[in-house]
Protein backbone atom coordinates (compact mmCIF):
# COMPACT_ATOMS: atom_id res chain seq x y z
CA UNK A 1 0.00 0.00 0.00
CA UNK A 2 2.78 2.41 0.98
CA UNK A 3 4.65 1.59 -2.21
CA UNK A 4 1.56 2.33 -4.21
CA UNK A 5 1.08 5.68 -2.48
CA UNK A 6 4.73 6.60 -3.06
CA UNK A 7 4.46 5.63 -6.69
CA UNK A 8 1.41 7.79 -7.13
CA UNK A 9 3.06 10.73 -5.38
CA UNK A 10 6.20 10.37 -7.48
CA UNK A 11 4.04 10.49 -10.56
CA UNK A 12 2.31 13.54 -9.17
CA UNK A 13 -0.90 11.59 -9.44
CA UNK A 14 -2.73 13.37 -6.61
CA UNK A 15 -6.16 12.42 -7.87
CA UNK A 16 -5.08 8.80 -7.73
CA UNK A 17 -3.77 9.24 -4.20
CA UNK A 18 -7.11 10.53 -2.99
CA UNK A 19 -8.88 7.66 -4.71
CA UNK A 20 -6.57 5.08 -3.12
CA UNK A 21 -7.29 6.45 0.37
CA UNK A 22 -11.04 6.60 -0.18
CA UNK A 23 -11.07 3.12 -1.60
CA UNK A 24 -9.50 1.48 1.44
CA UNK A 25 -12.18 2.97 3.73
CA UNK A 26 -14.83 1.78 1.29
CA UNK A 27 -13.24 -1.63 1.10
CA UNK A 28 -13.44 -1.94 4.88
CA UNK A 29 -17.09 -0.95 4.77
CA UNK A 30 -17.79 -3.56 2.10
CA UNK A 31 -16.02 -6.27 4.12
CA UNK A 32 -18.07 -5.22 7.13
CA UNK A 33 -21.20 -5.82 5.09
CA UNK A 34 -20.27 -9.49 4.72
CA UNK A 35 -19.57 -9.77 8.45
CA UNK A 36 -22.96 -8.28 9.24
CA UNK A 37 -24.57 -10.69 6.78
CA UNK A 38 -23.01 -13.71 8.52
CA UNK A 39 -23.97 -12.44 11.96
CA UNK A 40 -27.57 -11.73 10.95
CA UNK A 41 -27.90 -15.06 9.13
CA UNK A 42 -26.59 -17.01 12.07
CA UNK A 43 -29.02 -15.06 14.31
CA UNK A 44 -31.86 -15.93 11.89
CA UNK A 45 -32.60 -12.20 11.66
CA UNK A 46 -34.37 -11.76 8.32
CA UNK A 47 -35.04 -8.07 8.90
CA UNK A 48 -31.40 -7.29 9.64
CA UNK A 49 -30.43 -9.23 6.51
CA UNK A 50 -32.91 -7.33 4.35
CA UNK A 51 -31.52 -4.04 5.62
CA UNK A 52 -28.17 -4.91 4.05
CA UNK A 53 -29.81 -4.84 0.61
CA UNK A 54 -30.69 -1.89 -1.59
CA UNK A 55 -34.42 -1.29 -2.11
CA UNK A 56 -34.22 -2.61 -5.70
CA UNK A 57 -31.77 -5.43 -4.99
CA UNK A 58 -32.22 -8.90 -6.41
CA UNK A 59 -30.90 -12.31 -5.57
CA UNK A 60 -30.60 -15.52 -7.58
CA UNK A 61 -29.54 -18.77 -5.97
CA UNK A 62 -27.50 -21.66 -7.35
CA UNK A 63 -30.67 -23.40 -8.46
CA UNK A 64 -31.81 -20.35 -10.38
CA UNK A 65 -34.55 -19.25 -7.98
CA UNK A 66 -34.84 -15.46 -8.04
CA UNK A 67 -36.16 -12.85 -5.63
CA UNK A 68 -36.42 -9.17 -6.39
CA UNK A 69 -36.76 -6.22 -4.03
CA UNK A 70 -35.84 -5.79 -0.38
CA UNK A 71 -39.25 -6.95 0.89
CA UNK A 72 -39.14 -10.14 -1.18
CA UNK A 73 -35.62 -10.78 0.05
CA UNK A 74 -36.75 -10.48 3.68
CA UNK A 75 -39.65 -12.85 2.96
CA UNK A 76 -37.20 -15.26 1.32
CA UNK A 77 -35.03 -15.32 4.43
CA UNK A 78 -38.05 -15.74 6.73
CA UNK A 79 -39.13 -18.79 4.73
CA UNK A 80 -35.59 -20.16 4.52
CA UNK A 81 -35.23 -20.01 8.30
CA UNK A 82 -38.56 -21.73 9.01
CA UNK A 83 -37.36 -25.26 8.33
CA UNK A 84 -33.75 -24.75 9.25
CA UNK A 85 -32.35 -26.70 12.21
CA UNK A 86 -31.04 -24.43 14.98
CA UNK A 87 -27.53 -25.86 14.63
CA UNK A 88 -27.26 -24.92 10.95
CA UNK A 89 -24.63 -22.27 10.39
CA UNK A 90 -23.36 -20.22 7.44
CA UNK A 91 -19.77 -19.31 6.74
CA UNK A 92 -18.41 -17.14 3.96
CA UNK A 93 -15.06 -15.79 2.92
CA UNK A 94 -14.22 -13.02 0.46
CA UNK A 95 -11.86 -14.15 -2.29
CA UNK A 96 -11.71 -11.00 -4.39
CA UNK A 97 -13.04 -7.46 -4.37
CA UNK A 98 -12.86 -5.05 -7.29
CA UNK A 99 -14.14 -1.53 -7.68
CA UNK A 100 -15.88 -1.05 -11.01
CA UNK A 101 -16.58 2.56 -10.06
CA UNK A 102 -16.03 4.46 -6.80
CA UNK A 103 -19.64 3.65 -5.85
CA UNK A 104 -19.88 0.14 -7.31
CA UNK A 105 -17.85 -2.96 -6.55
CA UNK A 106 -17.96 -6.67 -7.31
CA UNK A 107 -17.14 -9.09 -4.51
CA UNK A 108 -16.55 -12.81 -4.99
CA UNK A 109 -16.27 -15.37 -2.25
CA UNK A 110 -16.96 -18.86 -1.05
CA UNK A 111 -19.80 -19.95 1.23
CA UNK A 112 -20.49 -23.09 3.15
CA UNK A 113 -23.21 -24.37 5.42
CA UNK A 114 -22.76 -26.61 8.40
CA UNK A 115 -25.12 -28.53 10.68
CA UNK A 116 -27.59 -29.61 8.02
CA UNK A 117 -29.38 -32.93 8.61
CA UNK A 118 -28.45 -35.99 6.53
CA UNK A 119 -31.83 -35.93 4.81
CA UNK A 120 -30.81 -32.76 3.01
CA UNK A 121 -27.87 -34.53 1.45
CA UNK A 122 -28.95 -33.59 -2.06
CA UNK A 123 -28.55 -29.89 -1.29
CA UNK A 124 -25.25 -28.24 -2.09
CA UNK A 125 -23.58 -27.19 1.17
CA UNK A 126 -20.79 -25.11 -0.32
CA UNK A 127 -20.23 -22.97 -3.34
CA UNK A 128 -19.31 -19.58 -4.68
CA UNK A 129 -21.08 -16.27 -4.37
CA UNK A 130 -20.86 -12.96 -6.13
CA UNK A 131 -22.34 -9.75 -4.83
CA UNK A 132 -22.49 -6.41 -6.54
CA UNK A 133 -22.43 -3.67 -3.93
CA UNK A 134 -23.41 -0.03 -4.38
CA UNK A 135 -22.76 3.04 -2.27
CA UNK A 136 -25.98 4.97 -1.79
CA UNK A 137 -26.37 7.87 0.60
CA UNK A 138 -22.90 7.15 1.96
CA UNK A 139 -23.81 3.55 2.79
CA UNK A 140 -22.68 0.36 1.05
CA UNK A 141 -25.50 -2.05 0.26
CA UNK A 142 -25.96 -5.25 -1.69
CA UNK A 143 -27.44 -4.47 -5.11
CA UNK A 144 -27.38 -8.07 -6.29
CA UNK A 145 -26.38 -11.44 -4.92
CA UNK A 146 -25.67 -14.60 -6.89
CA UNK A 147 -24.87 -18.06 -5.62
CA UNK A 148 -23.09 -20.50 -7.91
CA UNK A 149 -21.97 -24.10 -7.75
CA UNK A 150 -19.01 -24.47 -10.11
CA UNK A 151 -19.15 -27.21 -12.73
CA UNK A 152 -16.17 -28.48 -14.66
CA UNK A 153 -16.53 -28.15 -18.42
CA UNK A 154 -16.91 -31.41 -20.38
CA UNK A 155 -13.53 -32.81 -21.36
CA UNK A 156 -12.86 -33.13 -25.04
CA UNK A 157 -9.74 -35.26 -24.66
Amino acid sequence: MRKMVLLMMSLGFLGGLTLAQDTSADEDAIRQLDERWKEAWNNRDAQALAELFAEDADGIDAMGAAVSGRMAIEEHYIQSFENLPPEAGAESEIVSLRFIRPTLAVVDGTWSMTGLPETDEGLPTEGLYTVFVVKRGGQWLYAAGRSRIPVSPPQTE
Binding site: L104, R148, Q155
Partner: protein, 175 residues
Protein backbone atom coordinates in the same frame (compact mmCIF):
# COMPACT_ATOMS: atom_id res chain seq x y z
CA UNK B 1 -18.68 13.88 -17.40
CA UNK B 2 -22.09 12.24 -17.59
CA UNK B 3 -25.06 14.56 -17.66
CA UNK B 4 -28.36 12.71 -17.51
CA UNK B 5 -30.33 15.55 -19.06
CA UNK B 6 -27.86 15.68 -21.89
CA UNK B 7 -28.29 11.99 -22.49
CA UNK B 8 -32.07 12.30 -22.43
CA UNK B 9 -32.30 15.13 -24.91
CA UNK B 10 -29.67 13.55 -27.08
CA UNK B 11 -31.73 10.43 -27.64
CA UNK B 12 -34.91 12.22 -28.60
CA UNK B 13 -33.64 14.92 -30.82
CA UNK B 14 -30.44 13.55 -32.26
CA UNK B 15 -32.21 12.31 -35.34
CA UNK B 16 -33.80 15.68 -36.04
CA UNK B 17 -30.99 17.98 -34.97
CA UNK B 18 -27.60 17.05 -36.27
CA UNK B 19 -25.37 18.82 -33.78
CA UNK B 20 -27.32 19.10 -30.58
CA UNK B 21 -25.68 20.76 -27.60
CA UNK B 22 -26.63 19.88 -24.10
CA UNK B 23 -29.96 21.62 -23.62
CA UNK B 24 -32.43 20.12 -21.17
CA UNK B 25 -35.75 19.13 -22.69
CA UNK B 26 -38.19 21.93 -21.96
CA UNK B 27 -41.60 20.32 -22.01
CA UNK B 28 -42.80 17.92 -19.35
CA UNK B 29 -44.58 15.84 -21.99
CA UNK B 30 -41.47 15.63 -24.08
CA UNK B 31 -39.47 14.51 -21.08
CA UNK B 32 -41.91 11.72 -20.34
CA UNK B 33 -41.76 10.48 -23.91
CA UNK B 34 -38.00 10.83 -23.85
CA UNK B 35 -37.57 8.66 -20.78
CA UNK B 36 -39.63 5.97 -22.40
CA UNK B 37 -37.59 6.05 -25.55
CA UNK B 38 -34.44 6.08 -23.45
CA UNK B 39 -35.60 2.80 -21.86
CA UNK B 40 -36.42 1.35 -25.25
CA UNK B 41 -33.07 2.46 -26.54
CA UNK B 42 -31.31 0.95 -23.53
CA UNK B 43 -33.08 -2.39 -23.98
CA UNK B 44 -32.13 -2.29 -27.65
CA UNK B 45 -28.47 -1.49 -26.86
CA UNK B 46 -28.31 -4.30 -24.32
CA UNK B 47 -29.85 -6.81 -26.73
CA UNK B 48 -27.49 -5.61 -29.47
CA UNK B 49 -24.54 -6.29 -27.19
CA UNK B 50 -25.89 -9.77 -26.39
CA UNK B 51 -26.29 -10.40 -30.12
CA UNK B 52 -22.72 -9.25 -30.78
CA UNK B 53 -21.49 -11.60 -28.05
CA UNK B 54 -23.43 -14.51 -29.56
CA UNK B 55 -22.23 -13.74 -33.08
CA UNK B 56 -18.61 -13.68 -31.93
CA UNK B 57 -19.06 -16.92 -29.96
CA UNK B 58 -20.69 -18.67 -32.90
CA UNK B 59 -17.82 -17.54 -35.15
CA UNK B 60 -15.30 -18.89 -32.61
CA UNK B 61 -13.97 -15.35 -32.26
CA UNK B 62 -12.46 -15.04 -28.75
CA UNK B 63 -10.96 -11.61 -29.50
CA UNK B 64 -14.36 -10.44 -30.72
CA UNK B 65 -15.96 -11.40 -27.41
CA UNK B 66 -13.14 -9.85 -25.36
CA UNK B 67 -13.55 -6.60 -27.29
CA UNK B 68 -17.05 -6.30 -25.80
CA UNK B 69 -15.51 -6.08 -22.31
CA UNK B 70 -13.93 -3.02 -20.70
CA UNK B 71 -10.13 -3.08 -20.48
CA UNK B 72 -10.16 -3.91 -16.72
CA UNK B 73 -13.28 -6.11 -16.71
CA UNK B 74 -13.70 -9.35 -14.81
CA UNK B 75 -15.53 -12.44 -15.96
CA UNK B 76 -16.41 -15.79 -14.46
CA UNK B 77 -18.30 -18.60 -16.15
CA UNK B 78 -19.75 -21.90 -14.93
CA UNK B 79 -16.32 -23.25 -13.89
CA UNK B 80 -16.13 -20.50 -11.24
CA UNK B 81 -12.68 -19.22 -12.20
CA UNK B 82 -12.41 -15.43 -12.31
CA UNK B 83 -10.57 -13.86 -15.23
CA UNK B 84 -9.50 -10.24 -14.93
CA UNK B 85 -8.53 -7.86 -17.72
CA UNK B 86 -9.43 -8.06 -21.39
CA UNK B 87 -6.32 -10.09 -22.23
CA UNK B 88 -6.99 -12.85 -19.68
CA UNK B 89 -10.61 -12.89 -20.74
CA UNK B 90 -9.64 -13.29 -24.40
CA UNK B 91 -7.29 -16.16 -23.54
CA UNK B 92 -10.00 -17.89 -21.56
CA UNK B 93 -12.53 -17.61 -24.40
CA UNK B 94 -9.90 -18.86 -26.84
CA UNK B 95 -9.37 -21.94 -24.66
CA UNK B 96 -13.11 -22.54 -24.51
CA UNK B 97 -13.80 -21.96 -28.19
CA UNK B 98 -10.87 -24.09 -29.31
CA UNK B 99 -11.60 -26.72 -26.65
CA UNK B 100 -14.79 -27.83 -24.92
CA UNK B 101 -17.00 -25.31 -26.75
CA UNK B 102 -15.43 -25.56 -30.22
CA UNK B 103 -18.07 -25.40 -32.91
CA UNK B 104 -20.89 -24.72 -30.47
CA UNK B 105 -23.74 -22.28 -30.90
CA UNK B 106 -24.89 -19.93 -28.15
CA UNK B 107 -28.18 -18.15 -27.89
CA UNK B 108 -28.71 -15.42 -25.31
CA UNK B 109 -31.86 -13.74 -24.11
CA UNK B 110 -31.94 -10.87 -21.67
CA UNK B 111 -34.66 -11.10 -19.04
CA UNK B 112 -34.29 -7.85 -17.09
CA UNK B 113 -32.28 -4.64 -17.14
CA UNK B 114 -32.05 -2.05 -14.38
CA UNK B 115 -29.95 1.03 -13.82
CA UNK B 116 -27.65 0.92 -10.78
CA UNK B 117 -26.36 4.45 -11.32
CA UNK B 118 -26.12 6.75 -14.35
CA UNK B 119 -24.23 4.93 -17.08
CA UNK B 120 -24.26 1.58 -15.25
CA UNK B 121 -26.85 -1.14 -15.71
CA UNK B 122 -27.28 -4.64 -14.34
CA UNK B 123 -28.63 -7.16 -16.82
CA UNK B 124 -29.98 -10.61 -16.07
CA UNK B 125 -30.24 -13.16 -18.81
CA UNK B 126 -30.20 -16.76 -19.84
CA UNK B 127 -28.12 -18.61 -22.37
CA UNK B 128 -28.09 -21.96 -24.11
CA UNK B 129 -25.05 -23.60 -25.69
CA UNK B 130 -25.76 -26.38 -28.19
CA UNK B 131 -23.59 -28.63 -30.33
CA UNK B 132 -20.85 -29.51 -27.84
CA UNK B 133 -19.14 -32.86 -28.45
CA UNK B 134 -18.33 -35.34 -25.70
CA UNK B 135 -15.13 -37.36 -25.27
CA UNK B 136 -16.39 -40.10 -27.60
CA UNK B 137 -17.47 -37.65 -30.26
CA UNK B 138 -21.09 -37.90 -29.16
CA UNK B 139 -23.23 -34.77 -29.10
CA UNK B 140 -23.74 -33.37 -25.59
CA UNK B 141 -27.14 -32.14 -24.41
CA UNK B 142 -27.61 -28.35 -24.51
CA UNK B 143 -26.08 -26.47 -21.56
CA UNK B 144 -28.61 -24.00 -20.17
CA UNK B 145 -27.38 -21.30 -17.86
CA UNK B 146 -28.02 -17.92 -16.29
CA UNK B 147 -25.94 -14.81 -16.34
CA UNK B 148 -25.76 -11.47 -14.58
CA UNK B 149 -23.78 -8.74 -16.25
CA UNK B 150 -22.76 -5.21 -15.28
CA UNK B 151 -22.60 -2.92 -18.30
CA UNK B 152 -21.00 0.50 -18.28
CA UNK B 153 -21.58 3.19 -20.82
CA UNK B 154 -18.60 4.23 -22.88
CA UNK B 155 -19.63 7.07 -25.15
CA UNK B 156 -22.55 5.77 -27.16
CA UNK B 157 -21.72 2.10 -26.63
CA UNK B 158 -22.05 -0.24 -23.66
CA UNK B 159 -19.28 -2.53 -22.48
CA UNK B 160 -19.22 -5.50 -20.11
CA UNK B 161 -17.51 -4.48 -16.85
CA UNK B 162 -18.31 -7.68 -14.99
CA UNK B 163 -19.95 -10.96 -15.98
CA UNK B 164 -20.99 -13.96 -13.93
CA UNK B 165 -22.67 -17.00 -15.43
CA UNK B 166 -23.58 -20.36 -14.02
CA UNK B 167 -25.43 -23.56 -14.78
CA UNK B 168 -28.17 -23.87 -12.13
CA UNK B 169 -27.94 -27.04 -10.05
CA UNK B 170 -31.05 -29.16 -9.82
CA UNK B 171 -33.01 -28.97 -6.61
CA UNK B 172 -33.01 -32.28 -4.68
CA UNK B 173 -35.76 -34.60 -5.77
CA UNK B 174 -36.07 -33.12 -9.25
CA UNK B 175 -34.69 -34.49 -12.47
Amino acid sequence: MFKPWCFISFLTFAAAVASLGCQPAGEVMEEAVTEESMEDSLEASVQALADEYAAAWNAGDAEGIAALYTEDADSSGPDGEIYTGRQQIAEHYRELLEGADAGTTISIRTTSTRELEPGVVLVNGGFEVTGAMGAEGEEMPPAKGLSTVILVQDGDTWRIASLRSWIPVKAPGTT
